[in-house]
Symmetry: C2
Amino acid sequence: MGENQLAIIAGGGSLSDVIIETARKKGWNVTVFAIGDLNIAKNQDISLIEMKRLDIGRIFQILKSQKIKNICMVGYIPRPNSPKDYLNFRYLNVQTLSILFQSIGILRGGDASLFKKINSLLEKRGYKIIGASEIAPNLTLKGGLYSSKSVSKVEFENIKKAKQCAEMTGYLDIGQAVVVKNGRVLAIEAAEGTDVMLERAACLEAIRIKRGGVILKSAQINQDKRVDMPTIGPNTIKNVVKANLSGIAITADNVIVLDFQKVIEMIEDNNLYFIVI
Amino acid sequence: MGENQLAIIAGGGSLSDVIIETARKKGWNVTVFAIGDLNIAKNQDISLIEMKRLDIGRIFQILKSQKIKNICMVGYIPRPNSPKDYLNFRYLNVQTLSILFQSIGILRGGDASLFKKINSLLEKRGYKIIGASEIAPNLTLKGGLYSSKSVSKVEFENIKKAKQCAEMTGYLDIGQAVVVKNGRVLAIEAAEGTDVMLERAACLEAIRIKRGGVILKSAQINQDKRVDMPTIGPNTIKNVVKANLSGIAITADNVIVLDFQKVIEMIEDNNLYFIVI
């Protein structure tokens, strides 16, 4: 009990499975709260608690009764959009009500701001937040060129502009990704997510004419890197190809790369560049 | 000949008709270059030259032969995406080739940057650029509240955040509009345009739950206000309603409002706020 107990609050996306498996192998005694319709691989070594939606009251009840103090949040969990959402919880108790009360302030702001506030709330209650990248540090990459294809001068300029743009929008807690081609910002991610942004970019006339341009994904400057880490994976690469871009850039040590081998294979098959800056 | 001759290079959108009509009434001798499939109202008082796409060579030829020095560009003209686009021109002559040569640099950067460079090129050749808002200055608005519905404290905060965001993205020549709700930036416009951005916002879960939030549209800080003015109109308001926003904010003196009466009517019918800041 206690020290090696870990609660993984798992949302959508394939990162959850990787983190659960890695944590288990590293000797954690894992309890998984699977939020939404997930297909978490059942395993006799983990306790799996499935819930249709994020039910904070019920989670706290279980954490308390099982004396779990370590929490890792991973994957996409739909954010509560209004305090009213909490009223739909099955286990509405004093703790939930207290969170509800504090949440009215929490809900203002972007995702980074939301997660920071939730974490500080949890820490005040004696919980310890453990980042997915602490459990599996090999999921992020050191700086360098990871593709056979090199980065042309034009693309270096695109990456520079994308970085400048991402720094500004990150500062305002807006989004994690931006598409730049021929020195022109074609798309910026806000609440819609990277995939939707890439699909939109793919529809632009400026995209169709000739292959070129970059998507840059990076953590925001004010982001709590223990949660809500930017993630890329095979699906991202598929969308990068559809959007007719020349390559992908991510920032070092703070973007999770899912299924690295498959990503590199797709990068090579499609003659893309892949740089970590 | 000369002084009162005005060439209007007209692209898509309903602004073209308004500007042509206003210019004519003000005594300009108007030659319209209608680019693309436009329905410019035929009028015996104007010369109408229709072309499938922006053919700079042909335009220059006509401007020169008719000694027209004043140029007004209005409406959306698809930007050339590569120097190759110029090679499709019907009238490829020395002038076009010279522009082609200079354009290789011109094509890098956002729309504001593109228009600034084109204008400086034209001015060097002795042409005078006249802004749509100079011809019809009543198309922009002074600061103030233009709706019966007032702006709540929450919405003032949204507008403040939107303005901060628009200033940053405008500085990088990215786009003209942004959607903010509950202090969170939900969508930023880049190359896709305001309508597509609003359609995207309308699909977000954070939009559907409860009416609220604002779209702010403004000119960019480095924008040449004689061309490429941000514009709103009845169609914008229709999309604002679909996106479940509470209101619309524009900046004073630099956003064109098309069909003002209809816009105000729709604002009132849908209980939106409309503020010019």
